[in-house]
């Protein structure tokens, strides 16, 4: 039995222009999000270690207020649902509803950022006050950066779903699907962050 490759010489020469393959951009994005999640995992691990081994002085302990971050959690969870509605609308080429839900999602993201800023300005500690303050701002700030990027991407998708003229439609759903996956990821991270930072 020969081990040489089975090259079909008679088959006509094909070039890549005719070859089609599965779209694995979502796979690549998911891999990237796993990597991104590991950054958060590193921050969480650092925070929990600090909590376990670096006790604070009694006068430096703060009880974090819960109402605002709870509101933030609700905002983000609702925005995940509205983004999903936008995706469903795009699949049936319902551009009007898709744009409506995208706009709502972007506004919810913006509301989250504003609410986060309000919390920052009302907190009794600053970035360099102590270790917990620094970790708090690093974690929420890094997450806020993700929300900012997400809100910008949603705005771009919203612009690109305009009809006529937009590039995102039922034939090219990838930009919206990718942003949606990213947005769900950012929401999921927030839920973990909320539990670890505010509830534990």
């Amino acid at each position: 039995m020969t081990t040489l490759p089975q090259i079909d010489q008679d088959q006509e020469v094909r070039t890549s222009q005719e070859e089609h393959h599965e779209d694995f951009r979502m796979f690549g994005l998911a891999t990237f999000l796993i990597a991104d999640g590991m950054t958060f995992a590193g921050f969480f691990a650092a925070y929990l270690t600090y909590k376990a081994v670096n006790p604070l002085l009694p006068d430096a302990v703060y009880e974090l207020e819960l109402p605002l971050p709870t509101l933030n959690t609700i905002l983000l969870l609702v925005s995940s649902a509205t983004f999903h509605k936008a995706g469903t609308a795009l699949k049936i080429d319902d551009s009007k509803n898709c744009r409506k839900w995208l706009l709502i999602t972007a506004l919810l993201g913006l509301a989250f950022l504003i609410s986060q800023m309000v919390e920052y300005f009302t907190l009794p500690f600053g970035l360099t006050d102590n270790l917990y303050a620094s970790t708090f701002y690093a974690l929420t700030g890094f997450h806020g950066l993700h929300v900012t990027l997400g809100a910008l991407m949603i705005s771009i998708i919203w612009w690109q779903t305009r009809s006529p003229g937009g590039r995102v439609n039922s034939h090219n759903q990838f930009p919206l699907e990718a942003t949606e996956l990213y947005w769900h990821f950012v929401d999921g991270i927030w839920v973990i962050l909320f539990i670890i930072l505010y509830l534990l």
Partner: protein, 548 residues
């Protein structure tokens, strides 16, 4: 959902990419061009890192710091470590050979994400220049490639910040590359090609890419926190502000221990490609090789704290990490014995590629043995931060990875250029490298056992002779690069034409012309189900001519 690769006509495709030498300086999307860009760029940084190593060895020929001022010595050793790891070994064993070979091995015409691939490469030269330029602008970082705080917080900030930025860029490049390899190997395989039929290098790259994707982001996050400490005066890792330096060490080694496997697993894969071809035997124990790579990937994540046995690590942690680290010797040992068994009874042609591969096996087993020794707490606490550790990891990363890089260059040079290298010069290069390397690093075991600390420009005069011996070895290593460079340069123009498959190899990259056409195959990609099926029919085993 399907997408087509390119809708443009043949003529237009050609005009998009520059031809000839110019394409190696362009934002080319061809995986073969990107692979060579990685290789040549990495090699230039290797020469720079080698010059820095020479400066270190010249300084250490005398016990006093007379050649370099102390702070310059610290900068030089920091740059040497960072350049060799992040700009030479990691980009070359992953980026260079991975980009060149993986699409061939999975039967594809390019990587899964060609543009991301080009971006990943083009992040490297700027960050390398950024890193080196810091030496001339403000003075480079002085805290070693580990950048442990509080040293990295108290040494001059500008150099350290440039170092952090540069490593963040290189980490990003590495992650992009890793995502690309995972997608290419898992998703872009030619229909009909099963995972367990892939050449071993694919498995090594899959394991390495998993390590990169899961561990590099942790380093990135850590370095961002460190830069906050330096610039914004937060106290994450600053004990005087309530921070904790050991947390930095945990986070850093969570990346940097897997980084050792990121440097050496691809080398394992490359050796597994080279040996069967030149021994005319199938790779011994394919399945165990695959499982041992995956075992190393899993174990690689739970051994990091063996770098921290002297950092006040609690006893249970010492015990756990000693045992976990010792376990790594099992899959590594399996691979070692599989290579020996591949060589055993083979029709070995002792050409330069095989010599370097065998040199790798010898060096790597020595480095592996000292590694097992270092994993034991009672031993490690005595030799921690001494030259014993320096000797150990140079046996792994130079004796291991760099030997394999040279072996791979000798093996795949005919593929890339269509010409043969000069074997005599190659063997001479091997002899110089092997002798120089062992003369340079073997004595350092003795230095470490006798208590000479690493990363210090001055030392006790009783160590003078052995240090001079080591420096002579370094000189031979430095000279050894000359026959190699001459060989590469003159063979590119005057080397004998190799033909398409000078080694009679069966792996897919040899089943096209040398050098390969722009999309790898004219006609459909071949289906290679037995990449190591050597010696299984008479025709194959009788027609072996590997000498030129």
């Amino acid at each position: 959902m399907t997408i087509s690769l390119d809708n443009s006509k043949e003529g237009e495709t050609k005009s998009l990419q520059p031809k000839g030498w110019l394409r190696y300086f362009s934002f080319s999307l061809d995986h073969k061009v990107i692979g060579l860009q990685y290789l040549v760029c990495g090699f230039i940084f290797y020469l720079i890192g080698g010059l820095l190593a020479s400066a270190i060895r010249i300084e250490l020929t005398s016990p006093l710091s007379d050649f370099l001022p102390r702070d310059v010595y610290n900068q030089v050793l920091t740059l040497h470590g960072t350049i060799m790891i992040f700009l030479w070994i990691v980009p070359v064993v992953n980026g260079a050979f991975g980009n060149y070979l993986i699409p061939f091995y999975v039967g594809a015409r390019d990587m899964a994400f060609p543009r991301l691939n080009a971006v990943a490469f083009w992040l490297i030269p700027p960050s390398g220049l950024l890193l080196i330029s810091s030496y001339f602008i403000t003075g480079a970082a002085q805290s070693g490639w580990t950048a442990y705080p509080p040293l990295s917080i108290t040494t001059p900030a500008a150099g350290q910040m440039i170092w952090i930025l540069s490593v963040l860029l290189l980490g990003g490049s590495s992650i992009f590359g890793g995502i690309n390899f995972i997608a290419t190997i898992l998703k872009l395989r030619r229909p009909g090609l099963k995972l367990m039929q892939l050449p071993m290098y694919c498995w090594a790259m899959l394991g390495t890419s998993i390590l990169i994707v899961l561990s590099t982001p942790v380093l990135a996050g850590t370095l961002v926190l460190l830069s906050f400490d330096i610039v914004a005066h937060t106290g994450f890792f600053n004990p005087s502000l309530g921070g904790n330096v050991v947390v930095y060490q945990h986070l850093f080694w969570f990346y940097s221990h897997p980084a050792v496997y990121i440097m050496v697993l691809p080398a394992f894969g490359l050796v597994s490609e080279i040996l069967p071809v030149h021994c005319r035997k199938p790779l011994f124990g394919y399945t165990t090789m695959v499982y041992s790579i995956m075992a190393i990937v899993v174990l690689g994540f739970v051994v990091w704290a063996h770098h921290m046995f002297t950092s006040g690590t609690p006893p249970w942690m010492r015990l756990f990490f000693t045992i976990a680290t010792s376990f790594i010797a099992v899959p590594t040992g399996i691979k070692f014995f599989n290579w020996v068994a591949t060589l055993w009874g083979g029709r070995i042609s002792l050409n330069s590629a095989v010599l370097f591969s065998c040199g790798f096996i010898v060096n790597f087993v020595l480095g592996g043995i000292t590694g097992v020794a270092l994993a034991q707490v009672p031993f490690d606490v005595h030799v921690h931060d001494t030259y014993f550790v320096v000797a150990h990891f140079h046996y792994i990363v130079y004796g291991g990875s760099v030997f394999v890089i040279f072996s791979s260059i000798y093996h795949w040079y005919p593929k890339v250029t269509g010409r043969m290298l000069n074997e005599d010069l190659g063997r001479f290069h091997f002899a110089l490298t092997f002798i120089g390397f062992n003369l340079c690093f073997a004595p350092q075991h003795w230095l470490g056992l006798n208590g000479m600390p690493r990363r210090v420009a001055e030392y006790d005069p009783q160590f003078t002779f052995v240090n001079q011996l080591s420096s002579v070895g370094a000189l031979i290593m430095a000279i050894s690069i000359l026959p190699f460079l001459w060989n590469i340069i003159q063979s590119t123009f005057r080397g004998p034409v190799s033909g398409n498959n000078p080694w009679n190899a069966l792996t897919p990259e040899w089943l096209t012309s040398s050098p390969p056409p722009i999309e790898n195959w004219i006609g459909p990609p071949p289906l290679v189900k037995e990449p190591y099926g050597y010696g299984r029919n008479n025709k194959d085993s009788n027609e072996i001519t590997t000498d030129t």
